[in-house]
């Protein structure tokens, strides 16, 4: 494999990987405030992209995307209030099953609202054929949009969680719910907020990736599996590590595709998931003892 080809595969790996990272960050936000894994996380990306595609018929692109993100954010909050909050005291098994049911319902609703066809947003700058050439590798300007938006999402979240009162309140809730309540933090709204936040960033990620990978009603579940793999690889709840893990998985997939049949691409993430779960369920970046304490 020559150098330009390596750059080519590397770039496509990083592009997809950054989307996996955003899905994983979405998982982490909800996991750290509630302790549950939201199996419907992948559906948020598809809802966002589909809504933007419909709105784009009548509105300019930027407004369509902004509205789609807002709609999905509100939907995320509604889902929490209607379906998750009443089952607050339920066992983990019950909550998992509820989010699985949600992912099916959302997917089927999308099938009936839109259709089973493949849709896509237009390229944000240029057209499907415009390319940028770096080191002999050609790529679409949309790749820059994907990487830029992912960086802004991760950076924005870091600032939000570290420096704003609301972000700190959410972190306090994740850390120790009882203590946070004693400090006057409304823990229930923090949980709702975490669903809204992860729905919102999911919708935005779904929009920027739509011109490249296109959007179909049933693409949420594979995205969720990959996002979960990344979240586990980085260690559940650790968003910065999730970014690194996302890029790793994206690169791994890209190079597997370059060497083997593309039919194996889907299996890569699952094999990685099973291996990590069995060998190191606390993630790659956590020291073993700390991981054991956290898992307990």
């Amino acid at each position: 494999m020559n150098f330009p080809l390596i750059v080519q595969y590397g770039l496509s790996g990083i592009t997809v990987g950054s989307i996996y990272a955003i899905v994983a960050v979405g998982f982490n936000i909800i996991y750290s405030t509630t302790g549950i894994i939201n199996f419907a996380q992948g559906e948020f990306l598809i809802i966002g992209a589909m809504t933007a595609i419909s709105l784009y018929q009548i509105l300019p692109l930027w407004l369509a995307i902004a509205l789609a993100v807002i709609v999905t954010t509100i939907l995320g909050g509604l889902i929490e209030v209607v379906f998750i909050r009443p089952a607050r005291d339920a066992s983990v098994l019950r909550l998992i099953v509820i989010t699985i049911g949600l992912s099916i319902l959302i997917r089927e609703a999308m099938l009936h609202i839109w259709d089973e066809k493949v849709h896509f947003l237009p390229y944000f700058t240029g057209t499907a054929t415009s390319t940028i050439t770096v080191f002999g590798a050609h790529f679409s300007p949309q790749v820059l949009w994907v990487l830029g938006v992912s960086a802004v999402i991760v950076g924005g979240l870091t600032i939000f969680f570290r420096f704003t009162l609301l972000g700190r309140a959410m972190r306090a809730c994740a850390d120790d719910r009882m203590a946070a309540c004693l400090c006057g933090i409304n823990d229930r709204w923090m949980v709702t907020l975490s669903f809204m936040l992860s729905a919102g960033i999911g919708a935005l990620a779904g929009c920027v990736i739509s011109p490249v990978t296109q959007t179909q009603y049933d693409m949420g579940a594979p995205l969720a599996i990959k996002g979960f793999t990344v979240a586990i690889l980085g260690g559940l709840g650790n968003s910065m590590a999730a970014v690194v893990a996302g890029l790793l998985l994206g690169l791994l997939e890209a190079f597997v595709v370059s060497q083997f049949a593309s039919a194996y691409k889907e299996a890569v993430a699952i094999v990685v998931l099973l291996l990590v779960l069995v060998i190191r369920p606390t993630g790659l970046f956590v020291r073993r003892e700390i991981g054991a304490l956290r898992a307990a």
């Binding site: 009443p86 005291d89 983990v92 019950r94 049911g101 719910r177 579940a221 299996a267």
Partner: protein
């Protein structure tokens, strides 16, 4: 006396099965029996999953994978053509043992392939082995991790059957011959065999129910329930939790494989749609409707819901119905639709006490407990 009381529903079900057959035959609606038979085979998967999820408390989102492994194994072995190798020593030996048969398929071509019985046994051995090897590492995982790992296993099975040429890819395998269980009794989907197969399926289901009931009420069953309540407590009382969980995982996979193998002979074919994650989720939904730790509830829900689904009652909302069922049951009736008040009170008491114990031991609350309590 207690022992006999446990089995009266078996006798009642057997009677109901006979009455239903008579009623269908009298009204001339025997075509319903085809879907009832198929629903009964799906019920086998659900009974196994009920043991795993309801009694041992371990979620599996990959049981369609085991059903598919069972079905695809018998389909492959009974349709693969070994005619080109018929002169080799191995095939001759198999022939002499009666393990392979020569027959004519639908297109009139000569086929030399394995007989159904060895194929059936091979399907059980293969499924048991795969379940054991997968379960060995995976069953140590808990909660989300176990759910995701079994989901991953299910997805891999789906990808494999969809991507392998020898397994027919998207078309699946067809032309599977009937299964002669004993002379004069065969698993066969033709309409002249309808009543016979209705009874074959139901006898299989009732035998599975008796096995499951015996298991649940034995030492093993009590161990499993103790694992469900509190794995740490069970472990500290000397229950080898890992071994019990692994055993019930393999057993439930075998139930699914039996269902898959018999259904494949009955339909004469199997396709990748049997291995989808949605099928696995369906089985979970059905166990939930039945009330998780309720074998009779699970069996009834399996037959009823699959029958309605196979008749096309839900139309294009088929998957959505099962998704909605999952959410509604988990939100409003986590003990299932068939409520047994006595059992209820005991379960509630157990949960309340374990919750209180948790709070005392851990000194902090998690999402699983009441934040303000």
């Amino acid at each position: 006396m207690m022992r006999l009381r446990r089995y009266w529903p078996v006798a009642a079900s057997a009677l109901a099965v006979i009455v239903l057959q008579a009623a269908l035959s009298l009204t001339g609606a025997t075509y319903y029996m085809t879907q009832i038979t198929m629903s009964a085979y799906y019920a086998l998967v659900v009974i196994g999953l009920c043991l795993l999820m309801g009694y041992a408390g371990q979620a599996s989102l990959g049981h369609a994978g085991f059903f598919a492994i069972g079905g695809y194994t018998v389909a492959y072995m009974t349709t693969v053509n070994l005619l080109a190798y018929h002169d080799t020593g191995l095939i001759r030996a198999l022939h002499w043992l009666g393990l392979v048969v020569q027959w004519r398929n639908l297109y009139g071509a000569e086929v030399l392939s394995f007989s159904p019985w060895p194929a059936f046994l091979a399907a059980l051995v293969l499924t048991g082995l795969i379940a054991f090897l997968i379960g060995l590492p995976v069953i140590r995982l808990k909660g989300h991790y176990l759910a995701m790992a079994t989901l991953g296993f299910g997805l891999i099975v789906y990808r494999v059957v969809l991507g392998t040429k020898g397994l027919g890819q998207a078309d699946g395998l067809s032309n599977v011959p009937p299964f002669h269980l004993i002379p004069g009794l065969e698993v066969n989907g033709r309409s002249s065999f309808r009543i016979e197969n209705y009874y074959i399926a139901w006898v299989t289901v009732l035998v599975a129910m008796v096995l499951a009931i015996n298991l649940v009420n034995s030492r093993v069953g009590r161990a499993l329930r103790s694992i469900h309540q509190s794995e740490e407590a069970a472990h500290s009382l000397g229950v080898n939790t890992y071994r019990y969980k692994l055993a019930v995982f393999v057993l439930s996979a075998l139930f699914a494989a039996v269902g898959g193998a018999l259904m494949t002979h009955y339909n004469g074919s199997i396709g990748p749609s049997e291995a989808t994650v949605m099928k696995s989720v369906r089985y979970v939904a059905i166990v939930a409707v039945g009330g998780m730790a309720n074998l009779w509830g699970a069996m009834l829900a399996a037959v009823l819901l699959n029958f309605l689904s196979l008749r096309g009652v839900f139309g294009t909302y088929d998957d959505a119905v099962f998704g909605a069922i999952l959410i509604l049951i988990m939100l409003f009736a986590p003990q299932g639709l068939l409520r047994v008040p006595k059992w209820h009170a005991v379960a509630a008491l157990g949960r309340a006490s374990s919750r209180a114990l948790h709070k005392v031991v851990r000194g902090r609350t998690t999402y699983g407990g009441r934040p303000h309590g």
